[in-house]
Amino acid sequence: MFDGIESLYIGLGLILRIFLVFSQTRLRNYFEQSGEFVTPLNSWKRVIEGIYLRKLNVSPFLGSVVHETPLSLCFYSKLHTITNGHVESLFIIADLISGFLTYKAAYYILHRLFDQQLKDKATYKDERKMFLLTKADVQKNAYRVLLCAMVNPLSIGTCVAKSSLVFHNLLLTMTFYFFVTYQLLPFILTLCLASSISLYPIVLIVPGLVQFSNNTNNKRSIIRIVFILILFIMVNISILYLNFYLNHQSWSFIDAIYSFIFHVPDYTPNIGIFWYFFTEMFEHFRSLFVWTFQMHVLIVYLLPFTIRLRNDPAFLFWLLCAIFCIFKSYPAYGDVAFYFNYLPIWSFLFRYVRQGLVITCMMIVAALMTPITWYLWIYAGSANANFYFAMTFIFNIAQTFLLSDLIYAYLKQQFFIKNGLTIPRINGFEGQLEFT
C-alpha cells in the first residue's frame, strides 16, 4: 500500500504525535491553552461544552461559548461517545489522513505540471529546458510535501491541542484532493461542508469553476459554469437546512457561527490582526472596518488572481487558501500549517524568491516570541498587549511577504519559460528585465 519512504515518513509522524499526545502532559496542556493553536472557533473545550449542553437539553447556541455547526457538533458528539472521551487517537488518525491526502494531491499537481511540460517541450528552445521539472523531481517534491505534513511543528501542535481545525483541515484537504483529481461531486460536497464550518472556503468555488468548466475540447462552457454554480448553491442550502433540522428547527446557529465569524465579537488573542485592531477600534468606525477587512479577505483578490492564474487553477486554489488563512478573523497555526504543507510543491520557484532570508527570520522570531510575550502579558504582568500584538503583526507581515514573493517568482518563472533567459538587444542598446 505504501512504499518505503511513504511508510517511513508516516511512521515518523505517527510516532511524533503519539509521543507528544500521550507522554508529554505539560506540553499538551500548553498547546491546549495557547491562543495561537486554539481559537474560540475550534477549541475542543468548547466542543465538549456544546455536547454537555445538548445533553442538558439547553441549546448550545443560546450562549456565546459554542461556535460549531450543529452537524459538526453531532459528529463530534458521536466521536466522543464512541471513544468514551478519549478522542486523542482520532485526532492523530485524522491528521495523518489529511497529511497523506496532501501528499497525494501534491503528487497529482506535480504530475500534471510535468505532463504539461512534456506536451509543450517541443516548442521550447534548448536553453529553456533548465526550468523544467524532471520525473525524479515530481516524486521528490511529493515526498517533501509528505515529510513537511508529518513533521511540521504547526501541524503537530494543532493535533496535540485537539483543535477541531484538524477535522476542518481534513475536509479542506479532501476538497483540494478532489479538486486536482477532477471529481466534481465530492469536491462540491466537501467544499460546502468546509465552508459551512468556517465560511471563508466559500471563495474556493471560483477556482472550482475554472477547473471544472473546461469541456472536452478545452473550451470553457457557460452551461457548465451555471450548472456547477447551481449545484454549489443547492448543496449549500441543503447543508444549511440539515443544520437547521439538527438544531431542533431553529436558526440560532447562524448567529453563533456566521455572525460570530463575520462581525468578530470575540477579542481573544490569536495570530491574526483582527483581535487587537477591533479591541482598540472606535465604536462608530467598527462596522466600516469590519466590512473592509472581510471584503479584503473574501472579494478583493478573487477576480485579479483568477484572471492572472486562470491557466493554473491548482495554484489559484492554494493562493486563495493562503489569503484567507492569513486574513481570516480567527486564524490559528493550524490554518498556516494547511497552506505551508503544500509549499514544497512549488519548490522549483524558490530560486526566484527575493526575500527568503527576511521572511524566514521574521517567521522564526515571531513564532518563538509569541509564547514569551503571551506569558509576560497574561501571567507575569510585566508586558502588555502591545508586545503580543507586535509578534502576531510580524507573523502576518511575513506571511504576506511570502505570498507576494511566491507570486512574483511564479510570474518570473512563467516569463522565463516563454521567453528564455537571454535578454535581447532593444533598439541597438543592451536590454534588461523589467516588471512594469
Binding site: 468548547r46 454537555y52 439547553v58 456565546s64 487587537y276 482598540e280 497574561i378 498587549a385 507570486i407 528585465l433
Partner: protein, 602 residues
C-alpha cells in the same frame, strides 16, 4: 350657625377618622445581639401594614403611614412585591452567626410583577429600577440592562402570602433579580431611606426608634451596614379574603464594641448611635427593643435599665423593653450594656459548635494569570444538628465576561474529593456576549458539607468597555444558597409569615427558610493598552495595505524586456543633488528678496 359648624366639624372629624381608622399598623423594633467576636449586632426594623387598596389607581388615597412615593412606584409599574438591599461590608457567618435576614455586598433588587399589564415585564423592570434608584440615591439604573438581571427559576420565590388559585403556576418570566456588587453604600442612601418612615420629621428631631438614625456618620462607622426594604402582600384575615400590604424597612449594623480591656465589651446607645430615644413615636402601635442574650452562658451581662420581661426562644433568653410602657412616658430611653467573659468555661468546643450557624457559605476564585479561572464554593453544614438530608438551592449569576464552562461543574463532599454528588436538577442559561449573564441554579440534596466548583475563561474586552479603573478588577456577584432548615436553629430568622419580629418571636411560626449569601469575588481581566487606539488602527491598516499593495502590483504588472538605463555612479548623483539644492536655495532667496522690496514700496 353653631349647629352648622358643629355638623361640619363632626363630619370632618368623621372623615379623618374614617381615613385613618382602617387597620394601618406601624411597628418599630430594635433587635440587639452581642456577638462572641466582640461585635454587637443591631437590627432596626420598621414594619407598616396597610390595606392593599392604595395600589388601586381609580380612587384617591389617603397615605396615612405608608410612603406615597413607594405606592406610586409600585402602582405605576405593576409590581406585586419587591425586595431591595444596600449593603456595605460582608456578614461573617462563622463568627457572627446568622443575621435576621441576609444580604449580599453591594445592591440587590428583586421584584415580582403582576401578570395582567399592557407593558412587558422588561420595560416595567427598567422603569421600576430607575425610579427605585432615584428614590434611594443608588445606581440601580445599572440593573436594567439584561447584563446584570436574570430570572431565576427556583431561588427567588414570591414571599407574598395571597390566596392561590388552583390553576396558579409560577412563571419566572414575571421575576427579575439583579445584583450590583460594586455599589458603594453611604449616608446618601440612608437619608432618603429614612425619610420614608412615618415618624421622621424635618430636621433631626425624630421620634421613636427613628431617633437613633439622626447621626448618620456614626451608623457607617461599622463593620457591616445593610439597609433594606421589602414590600409584599399578606392576608388580612385567616380566611385570606382580603389582602394587605406589608412594607418592612430594616437597617442592620454590626459595630465593634470591644474595649481596650481584654474580654470586656461595653456600649451605650450614645456610643453606637450618637443619640438616645427621646420620645416614642405616637404613630407606632408597637415599639420594642429585644436583646438576645445568646452569649449569657459564657458571658456575664450587666444591662441597664431593667427589662420589662424576658422570653425564651429555644435555649436563648431574650429580654424585652416595651417603650410604650406607661412608666416610660415622656422620659428619654437610654440603654447601656457591658459584659465580660466568665473565667470558668467548660467544653469550649461544644459551645463554639453550638453557636455556629447550620449553614455557611464561602467562595474562592481559583486559577492564576488573567486567562482561565474558576470558582470554588464551599457550603458548610453544621453536621451536629444535621440528621437528615436537606435540599440546597444554589444560585449563581456570573457576568458574561467570565465564560463559564458548565461541563467542568463538579460537586464533591468537603471531606472527600473523590465522592461526587449528582445535582438533583440543573437549570442553566448560558450567557451571551454583551447581552446576558450566565445563570446557574442547582438543586442538591446532601447531608454533608459540599464543594461546588467550575471553571471559566476570561473574555478580552474592548478598550471602551472597561470601567474607569480597569485594574481594580471585575466583580462576580455573591452566590445565593437558599434552603429550608429542618430543625429549629439557635438564631432568630425572619419568618415568611411575618416580617416583624414580635410575631416571629412569639408564635410558633418557624418555617426554617434561610437565604445565605457568599462573598462576592474580584477578578482581574486582561487589559489592552488604553493609550494605543490610533497606533493599533494604523498598524492594522498597514498590514492590510502591505498585502494589498504588493498583490495589486503583481496582478496588474507584466514582465518584459526593456531598454537598459545607464547606471549613474553615486558621486555623480550626489553632485546632482547638491546642484539642485543650491538652485532651489537661490530661487527662495530671490523670492524673499522680491517680497521685501514689494513691502518697501508699499
Amino acid at each position: 350657625m353653631y349647629l352648622m359648624q358643629l355638623i361640619y366639624s363632626t363630619t370632618f372629624l368623621l372623615v379623618i377618622h374614617y381615613c385613618s381608622s382602617n387597620e394601618d399598623i406601624y411597628k418599630e423594633e430594635l433587635y440587639i445581639r452581642p456577638l462572641a467576636s466582640g461585635h454587637t449586632y443591631f437590627n432596626l426594623l420598621f414594619t407598616t401594614v396597610v390595606s392593599s387598596d392604595i395600589l388601586k389607581s381609580n380612587i384617591i388615597h389617603h397615605y396615612h403611614l405608608f410612603p406615597k412615593v413607594i405606592a406610586d412606584v409600585v402602582r405605576s409599574n405593576g409590581v406585586s412585591e419587591f425586595h431591595v438591599s444596600l449593603t456595605q461590608g460582608l456578614w461573617r457567618y462563622d463568627r457572627w452567626g446568622m443575621p435576621i435576614v441576609g444580604a449580599p455586598p453591594g445592591a440587590e433588587v428583586w421584584a415580582w410583577f403582576n401578570q395582567d399589564e399592557e407593558k412587558d415585564v422588561s420595560s416595567r423592570w427598567t422603569s421600576f429600577a430607575h425610579e427605585l434608584g432615584g428614590l434611594l440615591c443608588a445606581s440601580l439604573n445599572f440593573v436594567d440592562s439584561n447584563v446584570s438581571s436574570s430570572s431565576p427559576h427556583h431561588s427567588f420565590r414570591p414571599q407574598s402570602i395571597v390566596p392561590k388559585s388552583k390553576t396558579f403556576k409560577l412563571d419566572n418570566s414575571l421575576l427579575r433579580y439583579a445584583v450590583l456588587p460594586r455599589e458603594i453604600v453611604c449616608t446618601e442612601n440612608l437619608t432618603p431611606w429614612k425619610k420614608l418612615l412615618p415618624c421622621v420629621a424635618g430636621g433631626s428631631n425624630h421620634k421613636g426608634l427613628a431617633g437613633l438614625l439622626d447621626n448618620a456618620p456614626k451608623l457607617h462607622h461599622s463593620a457591616y451596614h445593610s439597609l433594606r426594604m421589602d414590600l409584599r402582600q399578606i392576608c388580612a384575615n385567616t380566611e385570606c379574603t382580603l389582602t394587605q400590604l406589608e412594607l418592612s424597612m430594616g437597617l442592620a449594623i454590626v459595630v465593634d464594641t470591644a474595649t481596650s480591656k481584654p474580654n470586656y465589651n461595653e456600649w451605650t446607645f450614645r456610643s453606637i448611635f450618637g443619640s438616645n430615644i427621646a420620645q416614642s413615636c405616637p404613630l407606632s402601635s408597637l415599639t420594642n427593643i429585644y436583646v438576645d442574650l445568646q452569649l449569657s452562658s459564657t458571658h456575664t451581662f450587666n444591662i441597664s435599665p431593667e427589662p420589662d420581661y424576658t422570653i425564651k426562644q429555644g435555649q436563648t433568653p431574650i429580654i424585652v423593653y416595651d417603650l410604650h410602657n406607661e412608666k416610660r412616658k415622656g422620659t428619654t430611653f437610654l440603654m447601656s450594656c457591658n459584659y465580660n467573659k466568665q473565667q470558668q468555661i467548660s467544653s469550649t468546643d461544644n459551645q463554639n459548635n453550638n453557636s455556629l450557624p447550620s449553614i455557611m457559605v464561602h467562595r474562592y476564585a481559583t486559577g492564576y494569570g488573567a486567562r482561565d479561572g474558576g470558582i470554588k464554593t464551599v457550603i458548610k453544614l453544621n453536621e451536629q444538628d444535621q440528621t437528615e438530608q436537606i435540599t440546597l438551592l444554589y444560585f449563581e449569576q456570573i457576568p458574561w465576561y467570565f465564560r463559564v464552562f458548565l461541563h467542568t461543574l463538579k460537586i464533591t463532599t468537603l471531606d472527600d474529593n473523590s465522592i461526587e454528588i449528582k445535582p438533583e436538577h440543573i437549570s442553566y442559561i448560558p450567557g451571551k456576549d454583551r447581552q446576558r449573564s450566565y445563570q446557574l441554579e442547582l438543586v442538591v440534596k446532601t447531608q454533608q458539607s459540599i464543594i461546588i466548583s467550575f471553571e471559566f475563561e476570561m473574555a478580552f474586552l474592548k478598550w471602551n468597555e472597561f470601567p474607569p479603573d480597569p485594574n481594580h478588577g471585575f466583580y462576580i456577584p455573591s452566590a445565593v444558597v437558599s434552603t429550608y432548615l429542618p430543625s429549629k436553629s439557635n438564631y432568630i430568622l425572619r419568618s415568611l409569615n411575618s416580617f416583624s419580629l414580635n410575631q416571629s418571636l412569639s408564635s410558633s411560626s418557624f418555617d426554617g427558610f434561610v437565604r445565605v449569601y457568599s462573598e462576592s469575588l474580584l477578578v482581574n481581566l486582561p487589559t489592552p493598552d488604553f493609550s494605543m487606539p490610533f497606533n493599533v488602527i494604523c498598524l492594522g491598516c498597514t498590514a492590510v495595505a502591505l498585502a494589498f499593495g504588493g498583490l495589486h502590483n503583481l496582478t496588474t504588472k507584466e514582465f518584459g524586456f526593456g531598454e537598459k538605463r545607464p547606471k549613474i555612479p553615486f558621486r555623480q548623483r550626489l553632485e546632482d543633488l547638491k546642484f539642485r539644492l543650491r538652485a532651489s536655495r537661490h530661487a527662495l532667496v530671490q523670492r524673499l528678496f522680491k517680497k521685501k522690496q514689494h513691502e518697501h514700496t508699499e
